[in-house]
Symmetry: C2
Subunit: 349 residues, 2 copies
């Protein structure tokens, strides 16, 4: 069969009988087979840079669940590593980064950065070779502001330091964002050429930004990345995810030439419909805490989301990533409810 | 002069030549005279419960700055204390709470809780006696969900535990919110009778709530509080502040019978105007980090906010509280720019 994957049909603006589904962080810590696999790599970065293991992690949820999309197993902090800033993960505490390099050094590292990320291309090729043709492969990168917050603060945090930096050092921040725009565009072009059929920009920390700052450090860089990717002849659809930006996601949807806009947990039904009416596909926005809790309230919310949003182009997903301690039976229940296809809760995947 | 305070005119729906101004956390740690005063109380709770000191703290910024509103110096966690849950503050770490009492014990404590907060009434009477008649006195309480997050988690946090509790124990949470609705309504009636001319509900942690959950645990309790306050014959205007709820603030503005809706830092100009068009006064939303940074960007943003929103009823304020390390000269600069009146940056207030 040469059927276009359901996920890509939705991103092309089609309203479908039932929405395609995938979950942010569907691969990884919520799966026992991932936790087993993970023990074979010395650390998390090594795991991400190993195409055999990363491809296996990408495919694990595809074997259990009838997801319509596979997202390459990688991390948004592989890019700063490729640009010369040290990155490591402290068990139970999340990422740590070394000192922010000089902007000139980062600028000089842009051209070589994509080659340092070539193993992610190899992961994509391996996954694409194994994945059924009616299931889409998604590549991704962290968006510039979000990656910059880690580069500036040296860790995950409340990001107050980075938001202050945006006011106190606007030219320095703009230069850093430019470096990230250029290197991210190259990285995404490489991913598309390696088999990614859709590209997602994760702006995970779009919270608490004033409208004019959001325009400058989120909307502008996203537009420039997509322009650069298009200029390189890559035409795969984009999904933008400016998480936590509230009503500013409507500015984002109106201005950024993405095909899909991922909505977070607090997106209102009315806002989602307005974004659809503006010509974009929407994705989201089941609460990952409700997925973890399960029960009849979960069923009701799944139905309500589909009822509210599947009158237009819609991709079913969470508003944030799967929590590590989410019972697999809850994922099974939602995916079966949305797709009508069986999933595997127990035993080997 | 018997002129109605500018802040109350704005809350009555008037569009004014220039907006009234006050700042969340205008009293407190950003002022040296506060830090001096604070040393005289043994701890923060004792300070809040001392009418002489709390009144002085309320008035300190009014002597320095031509603010149109004074907000009573108190804390949203005085209420759980009055309901029988232990509350204390760890220096540099914020609030800590003892074990959550049984719901029956909390319910039994509602009737007596207002008497335990009578010193806040005394603070209000002292402030009102000193404050010029053209400057409004604002009372406040934490909104039920926000207070519940502290009561459930025992501290300030990411509130994931409380949001999970909302799914796992919906009936228990509803009972807790009911106790908080009833006790908060009584507390606010007392504040109005003691001289508060406007009442603000601080829903400081309205982030990351799905629309249906927001309806149940934010919108519903706010409506019930206002209905109870009105039923007690109190007609002062309400300002609601569902911070961090994104586009859901439009649901809030449409459903809750507040006169004013306080907007947070990420509120878009367009959304603010829609809320004004819906018949509400808006308040906000200068970034407190920009206030701390200062400079020409601060001036430009102040002008942009007034340009965008003072075509309708508007109260100038921050999107979040004044940061403790905000230079006083920056506050002076903004207040003088908005009011055209002189303020005092240095020396004794």
């Amino acid at each position: 069969m040469s059927e276009t994957p359901r996920l890509l049909r939705a991103l092309a603006g089609e309203t479908l009988d039932r929405p395609p589904i995938w979950f942010m962080r569907q691969a990884g810590r919520s799966l026992p087979e991932y936790r087993e696999l993970r023990t074979r790599a010395k650390d998390f970065m090594a795991f991400c840079f190993n195409p055999e293991m990363a491809a296996e992690a990408t495919l694990q949820p595809m074997r259990r669940f009838p997801m319509d999309g596979a997202i390459v197993f990688a991390d948004i902090l592989l890019l700063p590593q490729a640009l010369g800033q040290e990155v490591w993960f402290e068990a139970g505490e999340g990422p740590r980064l070394g000192a922010l390099p000089q902007i000139e050094a980062l600028r000089d590292a842009v051209e070589g950065s994509t080659a340092k990320l070539s193993s992610i291309g190899e992961t994509l090729r391996r996954v694409r070779a194994e994945l059924e043709p009616d299931r889409a492969l998604i590549g991704f990168a962290g968006a510039p502001w979000t990656v910059a917050t880690y580069m500036i603060e040296g860790r995950g945090s409340q990001r107050e330091m980075a938001r202050t930096y945006a006011y106190e050092n606007p030219e320095k921040l703009d230069s850093l964002l430019d470096v990230l725009v250029d290197s991210t565009a190259r990285y995404l072009v490489m991913q598309a050429k390696a088999g990614a059929q859709a590209l997602k920009l994760f702006e995970s920390w779009a919270e608490n930004l004033a409208e004019d700052v959001f325009e400058r450090i989120v909307i502008g860089p996203h537009i420039r990345i997509i322009e650069q990717v298009r200029a390189a002849g890559v035409n795969v659809p984009f999904i933008g995810f400016p998480r936590g930006c509230g009503a500013l996601v409507e500015n984002y949807a109106a201005r950024v030439p993405v095909q899909g806009v991922a909505l977070d947990t607090q997106a209102s039904f009315a806002m989602g419909k307005r974004i659809q009416s503006g010509g974009k596909t929407i994705q989201g926005a089941l609460d990952n805490l409700l997925l973890r809790t399960g029960g009849p309230a979960l069923d009701r919310r799944v139905d309500a989301l589909i009822e509210a949003w599947n009158g237009g182009p819609y991709i079913f997903n969470l508003g944030h990533g799967v929590m590590p301690d989410t019972p697999i039976e809850h994922i099974v229940r939602v995916v079966e409810r949305v797709t009508g296809k069986p999933a595997k809760a127990f035993g080997a995947a």
